[in-house]
Symmetry: C3
Subunit: 156 residues, 3 copies
């Protein structure tokens, strides 16, 4: 078992089966060494498990868990694209938090994604990030996370 998968197991997590292409877009697109993962929702067994607005129906702690779940789905897509997580560098994370008026803790919510990426990939999990609060998300998801990663030579 590879280092990244051992770390996931130590966290009590496993990579979800990557969801299939829906409609005319792809779960991810690869260009040379770069992987563009489509926006991931906080899914478990195909269901959106965190729904509604932060600052209204959900707490920051719940939003953190939602963002973590989005990042876990993205790791599943990246592993599917690259064949492994051992040679992956995360480049950019785009985080969208469904936010009630006046909710301004999008950074704290998105830390759920950033923390998981670093817990699993170590230094290669660090990334540039943009975090914003949006009016609503598909399927009433609380958080959506988009990731751009790169396949690099060598391992951890």
């Amino acid at each position: 078992m590879t280092i990244a998968l051992e770390r996931l197991q130590a966290l009590g997590l496993q990579l979800p089966s990557p969801t299939m292409a829906i409609a005319n877009y792809l779960p991810y697109q690869i260009v040379e060494h770069e992987i563009y993962v489509s926006g991931q929702l906080p899914l478990r067994d195909g269901q959106v498990v965190y729904q509604g607005l932060l600052g209204d129906e959900l707490t920051v702690a719940e939003g953190y868990q939602a963002a973590r779940l989005c990042a876990l789905s993205a790791l599943g897509q990246i592993a599917s694209a690259a064949g492994s997580l051992e040679n992956i560098q995360i480049i950019r994370v785009g985080g969208f938090v469904a936010s009630a008026a006046g909710f301004t803790e999008q950074s704290q919510v998105l830390n759920g994604a950033s923390d998981l990426l670093v817990a699993v990939l170590g230094e290669r999990g660090r990334h540039a990030r943009v975090a914003v609060g949006v009016a609503a998300l598909p399927r009433n998801a609380a958080v959506e996370v988009e990731i751009m990663a790169r396949i690099i030579a060598g391992t951890d």
Copy 2:
């Protein structure tokens, strides 16, 4: 006439004249083989033809048409940048849907863009995608679509 232009014609569409640079930004930026198209609004003859919020003033069917029109504008920009649509691979679509509280069908709206890209470019039209619901868009547009594409060798 090329394959992509024939497909457009069969859909009863033609590429719009690319809009000019407005202010200090560009309609697109090329870096090596990659084309970054600026956010496109649902324009016809320079007018935003779908205005207002989904889930309030506009139906999903109207939003779908708006997203399609944004993608058509983007194809016009890409053709202008690359000289042709024959050697284009779509990489990433960022879709922003002006959304009233509680509107969560952003994916269905953005399918208007994704479906057009695949109808015109075939497999090369498939892409990674992020779809979110925003509070408001420039010029009261209902949808805004940003596209990143790549010029590849060879044809369809």
Copy 3:
């Protein structure tokens, strides 16, 4: 003093000290020649100086200044990443404007960022852009700006 720094000085501006990494994400990520700068807030001395919603608490003129300040912070990050601003081409600007219902002048607000980039970098400051209106931003910032730039050979 380099051309870009002279232009900044002529504008009465100086590059801010780049803010440090917060949590598990980076202020910027470099991949080969490309620099992905994390979303920048309108900071001065570490404080968010433009807070609240455009179209409610803030005027377009204030939003323009906020976007300019975000771009200045991004230039600070880019200079830190590349060692200089002389060999920088701006590729893409993502602009997020905290917007009250019905506010649709996000483009005018974001011109504050675009105008500064061109004032400092000349033609190399022009870029593709996406501008949207969001529900809320971290730390109640009025504007957040994300920039992707490229290190190119040669100078102005």
